[in-house]
């Protein structure tokens, strides 16, 4: 038997860190979408959790009603949720851009309650089971823990999506337009770029990320109307800690806090659902703009 680290066998510690990374993948995907939307639209999208839940429900409905499996759902569900986002942005959100951030927050919060209430009314709270796709069933024995293949896939998928989004925004021409339009929309419009359409598509992309996270989550958690509200508060804390609007900050903080939460579950499990908020409070006191945010 090897020695122990702070009274915990190293095997257990590695296992918990890996689990933290898996949960961090969801935090990162969701906070990435929030950061993209906030950076571009200045809207604090409180409906993000509800849209994540919608992503999971869409894939469940595709499977049970139409017999369309996981891999297609991975493509279709984000598209459907993204389309829903387009409708929301065109009909409701676009009317609020002239007003304070608070109005966007209140509107999206109300929307979240309505969407959640509708699903709860239709499907109850216990949730629906969604099977793990056959290709990802089973798991690997890593020596220190049993890693289900599906969870490994979630980490890989989330890393790929986060990385490519970051590259798209920071390193491509389209990303440059986006960042420019955030700084000075009037000037960018003057160069002949359709800024309102870009805003709509950005929102759609942000919520499609939430939908994608929902599909990834469906086989792990029950597909339940409450799954979004359980997660969204933590994700908001992640965004605040990372710095509102900072893409890199959102992603890194997502993974980092997942790890930290994992450690808390070993050392003091009772505190595992508040540790993120304690960190948020500390960060707000020391660096109010967040770890990666710029003071404006």
């Amino acid at each position: 038997m090897m020695g122990t680290i702070f009274g915990i066998p190293p095997q257990a510690l590695f296992g918990q860190l890996l689990l933290g990374l898996i949960n961090g993948s969801f935090y990162a995907l969701l906070s990435l979408g929030l950061a993209v939307i906030f950076g571009m639209l200045n809207v604090i999208n409180f409906a993000h959790g509800a849209l994540y839940m919608m992503g999971a429900f869409v894939s469940w409905l595709l499977l049970t009603k139409l017999g369309i499996g996981y891999w297609w759902a991975l493509l279709l569900a984000p598209l459907i949720v993204g389309l829903f986002g387009v409708v929301l942005e065109k009909t409701l959100l676009s009317r609020l851009y002239k007003l304070d951030h608070l109005y966007g927050l209140l509107l999206t919060f109300g929307l979240a309650l309505i969407v959640e209430g509708a699903f709860r009314h239709q499907y109850g709270v216990s949730g629906q089971p969604y099977p793990i796709p056959d290709a990802l069933k089973g798991g690997q024995n890593l020596g220190f823990m049993f890693l289900p293949n599906y969870r490994g896939w979630v980490v890989v998928a989330s890393l790929v999506v986060c990385l490519s989004t970051w590259i798209a925004i920071e390193k491509t021409k389209l990303g440059a337009y986006l960042r420019a339009a955030t700084e000075n929309p009037v000037l960018v419009q003057a160069f002949g770029i359709n800024v309102p359409r870009m805003v709509t598509l950005t929102y759609a992309f942000g919520v499609a990320l939430a939908g994608l996270a929902g599909v990834l989550a469906a086989p792990i958690y029950q597909v339940s109307p409450l799954m979004g509200s359980n997660l969204i508060i933590v994700v908001f804390a992640v965004v605040v800690i990372g710095g509102m609007g900072s893409i890199l900050g959102a992603v890194l903080t997502g993974y980092g806090l997942g790890l930290l939460e994992g450690l808390t579950k070993v050392f003091y499990p009772e505190a595992s659902n508040i540790v993120v908020f304690v960190i948020m409070a500390v960060v707000l006191m020391i660096k109010p703009a967040g770890l990666f945010g710029r003071e404006r």
């Binding site: 709270v125 289900p148 969870r151 029950q222 595992s272």
Partner: protein, 407 residues
């Protein structure tokens, strides 16, 4: 919330209709009606095991009396306590003080039930508990007007705990919901495990409404215990069982899961593929005999789901309460409570049930196994009853309970 209460009251008033001619044995009813308040989680993780279904069951009980008692109407109202003890006790107080509610029904979540028990004890109001589990409600926190109906932590511990130790599951690790209910369920089960010759090697307290149990499951795996006891309920149980199957906890054959509190609604949500072979203790199963099948069929036609033991228990308790009012000729709390304790409970839920001085309704419990998908003949065909646990064995006696009421 108030709007919802008002809407509920208005609806109930509509369905009551005109009051009939004065009855010869017309007694004293406060507010000239019996007002039943069903207080539970209507939107959160416990909404499917009780929720609106408990209100449906209470209405079915009232309908057996023609929605009238001693010539006066029976009214049923509902509210959502959101699993918050302060909201629950405030609603109870408002119902009793301002709205003339005569009896409070259900109240799942032991934390909320303990808070409401304080209010109903002070107000001498009848409190019929179907949802909550902790045996403290008839132990140190007992009340002269409190009644605990379908199950409690001690009965679950006796049923599932002892049965599993007898089959060789003699070392336990608990994953426990971190509040009153989980702590009590772990304590009661540990006691039964040790009594049967087993040992407890450890436990971890998981916050209520946890989305990811994998970390706790890993700790359970590392403990090397033969049995991982889930001292949680509702959504938490569903998530932990599902994720245990994902992490291959039971596939190695070295560890087994013991769900200490599993409702029919949980099995329905999990699906038989994941839930198969779980052993559980329940106070009610719809497919047990002709009477339970007939009643459950009626319930299903209204609610679209088969009843859990909490919902069936709500029917049984409300029905017994109304019978006691009929016999006592009044809805005065302490008088009705005394009458309820005198009368045996006989309905589709319980045969020759009796009520102890601490309010514990003693009736047979059932040890059940969840069927494999291949054994199930149709929707909701989920349990095989392994054993009937006599009420006297399942529940603590009045002396054992620790309740300080006069006998």
């Amino acid at each position: 919330m108030i709007a919802r209460l008002l809407a509920g009251a208005a609806l109930a008033a509509l369905t009551i209709g005109a009051t009939g001619p004065a009855n010869a044995q017309q007694g004293k009813l406060s507010g000239d009606m019996v007002k039943v308040g069903v207080l539970n989680d209507r939107s959160g993780l416990y909404a499917d095991l009780g929720g609106e279904g408990s209100a449906v069951a209470a209405r079915m009980a009232a309908e057996e009396f023609g929605n009238k008692i001693l010539g006066k109407p029976i009214q049923i109202i509902t509210a959502d306590h959101q699993n918050k003890p302060d909201i629950g006790s405030n609603l109870a107080r408002q119902w009793i003080d301002q709205d003339g509610v005569d009896v409070i029904v259900d109240v799942p979540n032991s934390g909320v039930a303990l808070a409401v028990q304080e209010v109903t004890r002070e107000k001498k109001t009848i409190f019929l508990m179907e949802g909550p589990a902790t045996s403290r409600l008839t132990g140190d926190a007992c009340s002269p007007t409190g009644f605990h109906w379908p199950y409690d932590t001690r009965a679950l511990a006796v049923g599932t705990g002892q049965a599993i130790v007898k089959e060789g599951g003699d070392s336990w690790f608990f994953i426990t919901a971190d509040y009153a209910f989980g702590h009590q369920l772990e304590a009661d089960t540990s006691a039964q495990v040790k009594k049967a010759g087993g040992k407890v090697v450890g436990s971890v307290k998981a916050p209520l409404n946890t989305a990811d149990f994998s970390s706790f499951l890993l700790q359970a795996q590392a403990s090397g215990a033969k049995i991982v006891g889930l001292a949680n309920a509702g959504g938490d149980t569903i998530t932990s069982i599902k994720q245990a199957s994902e992490f291959g906890l039971t596939q190695s054959g070295q560890q087994k899961l013991a769900g200490l509190l599993i409702f029919l609604s949980d099995v329905h949500a999990l699906g038989l593929q994941v839930a198969q072979d779980l052993v559980l203790t329940t106070g009610f199963y719809w497919d047990r005999n002709d009477e339970t099948r007939a009643w459950s069929k009626k319930f299903f036609d209204r609610h679209g789901k088969m009843p859990t033991m909490v919902q069936a228990g709500s029917y049984s308790a409300v029905r017994h309460y109304l019978k006691a009012i009929e016999a006592a000729g009044t809805d005065d709390g302490p008088t009705v409570a005394a009458k309820m304790k005198e009368m045996p409970v006989n309905d589709m839920f319980a045969q020759n049930g009796s009520i102890l001085p601490n309010g514990r309704m003693v009736h047979d419990m059932y040890l059940a196994r969840v069927k494999k998908p291949s054994e199930s003949k149709g929707p909701w065909d989920y349990y095989e009853i392994l054993r009937t646990i006599p009420g006297k064995e399942a529940f603590a006696t009045f002396e054992e309970s620790g309740c300080k009421l006069p006998k």
